[in-house]
């Protein structure tokens, strides 16, 4: 089954494909410059010791985001 969840709810080790980046302005631009655009497959690597920020792997590099920034990103995940 296929469903769409916010990035914040993903578990370490879970993977998916970005469905939507609902942010404009500076944050949106930063996210897109780094290659987080709809259609990109991502894998959650882990979270910092205090569960925030989250580290995720895009095709070929690792990126970190805070949870409240991850909230703008919706991901298609397999179940």
């Amino acid at each position: 089954m296929n469903k769409t969840i916010p990035l914040r709810q993903m578990q370490a080790g879970q993977s998916g494909v970005i469905a939507e980046v609902a942010s404009g302005g500076e944050l949106g631009r930063r996210i897109r410059d780094m290659g987080l655009v709809p259609g990109s497959p991502i894998l959650i690597i882990g979270r910092a010791p205090l569960k925030d920020p989250v580290a995720l792997r895009l095709k070929d590099f690792t990126l970190t985001l805070r949870n409240n920034e991850a909230d703008f990103i919706q991901v298609h995940v397999d179940e």
């Binding site: 944050l27 410059d33 290659g35 655009v37 690597i45 910092a48 920020p53 070929d60």
Partner: protein, 720 residues
């Protein structure tokens, strides 16, 4: 190579690329030791340049700051793009991390759209291959219409081929820019065409950028271009209204933004570029070693413990390794002092050379070995990629105090790991986008244990905590952090209130740093320190020596001392009594001097924190530069004592009954926290864009430090 290019002087090329693409390593490989570090005029972004030569052609290499994009959101991006537009280098070498080709090409596409002659350096090819990636470089070069060179900068591989391509490409001198046109789809293309025509008709910025590029920047909401447009008159308003219309249309019909569409099409263009160029070996889709290491190094419990151990280990290493060379340097300067004393007749000149120059500068240079080792360790953390993990692990904590994970860097460079310097630390804060978090970082970074304060801490902890020197220093450093965080929190909830900014950051893969790269980093920073000791500190030492020497004792007092000495000698008094008299005379002279009078005038207040007039003189000098504190103390003690003695400052202090533990602790606390040095204040003024904040840090930090020093001194004195 032809004669023309040999005669027309060096050709200028710019080195550009994403952060962590190995740009600096390639720059070092190309230019060797012929490099120069400075700042771009008007802004504090670091400017590195150097020369390379190939077949008799001199190549002037400019290292542009690392950027992900050319939209003017950060100062780095603005500098990179303005440099290209204004200086028009003969070519840009885009350094690309071949291991993350797709994302690195995002910047490359923007260079292509700008039209500047381009050479691609596919760097870190070894890592890309070990990831199981196969690249068809020739096909990529054909599609880009630009030379593509594979390099492994850390081994110098591909360097000659790259130089050859640079010479080849720029052979016929300056080439015109040939901008690439990408389609941005049915929603944006018509409006782009329309805007481009208008921009061309009015020649708006066309001497700097291609018209279509300017139009694109409008659609991306670029602040700088928009402002320039407003200044240009009616055209700005017309372009802005076109953008507004299309943005509304996008939101209504597609629920998206023009800049999102632009990014999508760019990535689409990159995907089509890479079709058939890049193949992933699916069998080798193993988790990279880096990810494995992160599982341990950023683990919930292990991560922070390893981080603390590592930072503590750096102290131990620094002190164990640094002690011996430090003793050598100290021995050298005390030998130099006694030699000069022996060679020259007594008098003002000798006094200036020995007490002012040798004691003053020697006190500062004595710490060069320690500082070099500390910088070497920091270079290791930066180059290995661990520094980014520190920011990642600490972001959540920093946010509590109204800061940003990236504030870690300025803090650490300022001396968060003791031995840094607040000047580059304050400059490092420019990576912070939010003016509020940046300001809070700027104002609190000077609380850290910088290399200039370090000598005093080492000296005092050596005397008062002889068996726990490393731990004492660790506590001082932690105190610096605590003060910085608490004050940041106070500032962020009072004078600089506002929401937090995004934390979108790359975690570069772990790499084993090259010795050469670390040595270059260490040398650059250590040399800055030595230069400061040789110039600013030297001048201030002499100035302070003068303040401590003039006005001299009036003739009547001098005679008084001479008569007493003659009487004692006639009575056959032993050397000890004579030395005591000599000391008394020195003290009287110092008290009579300008500095002495100021020190005494401050005593009624400073006594609350346990400081006497000698310390007051040193602390006043410390407003100019913190190194001066220890050299002034050195001068004060050496002027205040007999001529024959050439004891180190440490011995003098440990013998002085006025020094006790509460005074030592209170002094360390005050020095840690009081006003930043003059150079840092200038840097704060530049980075914050206002002298108000610089003066604020001067006043606020001094009052804050004094209040804490007084309470600690009084508290400790009560307990004892």
């Amino acid at each position: 190579m032809n004669e023309a290019s040999r005669e027309s002087g060096p050709i200028t090329i710019a080195l550009a690329g994403n952060p962590n693409s190995g740009k600096t390593t390639l720059f070092n490989a190309l230019t060797g030791s012929h490099q120069h570090v400075g700042n771009y005029p008007g802004v504090t972004v670091e400017k590195k340049e150097g020369f390379a030569a190939h077949q008799g052609v001199r190549i002037h290499v400019i290292d542009l700051p690392g950027t992900y994009s050319l939209t003017a959101y950060s100062q780095e991006e603005l500098v990179a793009r303005n440099y290209l537009a204004e200086e028009r280098p003969a070519a840009v070498v885009d350094v690309i991390n071949a291991g993350s080709l797709e994302r690195n090409l995002y910047l490359c596409v923007q260079f292509l759209e700008l039209g500047i002659p381009l050479i691609l350096a596919l760097n870190m090819m070894d890592e890309a291959r070990s990831k199981g990636m196969t690249l068809n470089t020739d096909l990529l070069a054909k599609r880009l219409h630009a030379p593509v060179v594979e390099t492994i900068a850390r081994h110098g591989q591909g360097k000659n081929r790259l130089l050859r391509e640079i010479v080849e490409l720029t052979r016929e001198g300056r080439r015109p820019w040939r901008p690439l046109t990408i389609s941005y789809g049915p929603d944006l293309d018509p409006v782009l065409t329309e805007m481009t025509a208008r921009i061309e008709a009015e020649s708006f910025l066309t001497d700097r950028y291609p018209a279509r590029w300017t139009a694109l920047k409008y659609l991306e909401g670029d602040e700088e271009i928009t402002l320039l447009g407003r200044k240009a008159g009616a055209l700005g308003a017309v372009l802005e209204s076109s953008v507004k219309t299309v943005a509304e249309h996008c939101r209504k019909t597609l629920n998206t933004y023009p800049e999102a569409i632009i990014a999508d099409y760019r990535y689409g263009f990159i995907a089509s570029l890479l079709k058939g160029v890049l193949t992933h070996d699916t069998h080798a889709q193993r988790i990279a070693v880096s990810d494995q290491m992160d599982k341990v190094l950023t683990h919930t419990f292990l991560g922070p413990s390893i981080m603390a151990l590592l930072l503590f280990g750096i102290y131990e290493l620094t002190f164990t390794l640094g002690q011996t060379p430090m003793d050598w340097v100290e021995a050298f300067f005390s030998w130099l002092g006694s030699t000069v004393t022996g060679l020259m007749p007594p008098g003002l000149l000798r006094s200036m050379l020995v007490s002012g120059v040798i004691d003053g500068v020697g006190g500062v240079l004595g710490f060069v070995p320690l500082i070099a080792i500390m910088f070497f360790c920091i270079a290791f953390l930066e180059d290995s990629g661990y520094m980014a993990r520190i920011a990642y692990m600490l972001d959540r904590v920093f946010r509590i105090f109204g800061l940003h994970g990236c504030s870690v860097m300025p803090f650490i460079v300022s001396g968060g790991i003791a031995g840094g310097c607040a000047v580059p630390g304050v400059m490092a804060s420019r990576t912070l986008r939010s003016p509020r978090e940046k300001l809070a970082t700027l104002l609190t970074a000077p609380f850290m244990t910088c290399g200039a304060k370090l000598p005093l801490f080492i000296l005092l902890s050596g005397i008062f905590f002889p068996s726990h020197q490393a731990s004492a220093l660790f506590v001082v450093t932690l105190t610096g952090w605590a003060a910085a965080l608490v004050v940041a929190r106070i500032l962020r909830s009072t004078v600089i209130r506002g929401p937090a900014t995004p934390f979108v950051m790359e975690l570069p893969p772990y790499r084993w740093p090259t010795l050469r790269g670390m040595c270059i980093h260490t040398w650059e920073r250590t040399w800055e320190y030595i230069k400061k000791a040789g110039t600013v500190i030297l001048a201030i030492s002499i100035l302070i020596w003068a303040a401590m020497t003039f006005p001299q004792l009036p003739e009547s007092r001098v005679q008084e001392f001479e008569i007493r000495a003659a009487e004692l000698e006639a009575d056959g008094a032993d050397q000890e009594v004579l030395t005591a008299l000599e000391n008394e005379r020195g003290q009287a002279a110092l008290l009579h001097s300008m500095a002495g009078r100021l020190g005494v005038a401050l005593e009624p207040i400073s006594r609350l924190a346990g400081f006497d007039w000698k310390i007051n003189i040193a602390l006043t000098g410390g407003f100019a530069a913190k190194e001066v504190i220890i050299s002034t103390l050195g001068t004060a003690y050496s002027l205040g004592e007999g001529e024959v003695e050439t004891e180190s400052l440490g011995r003098r202090i440990s013998k002085d009954p006025n020094w006790d533990l509460p005074r030592a602790v209170s002094l360390m606390l005050f020095v840690l926290l009081y006003a930043p040095c003059f150079v840092t204040i200038v840097a704060i003024a530049r980075e914050s864009g206002s002298w108000g904040w610089a003066l604020f840090s001067l006043g606020f930090n001094t009052v804050f430090a004094f209040a804490l020093a007084v309470s600690v001194y009084q508290g400790l004195s009560l307990i004892r």
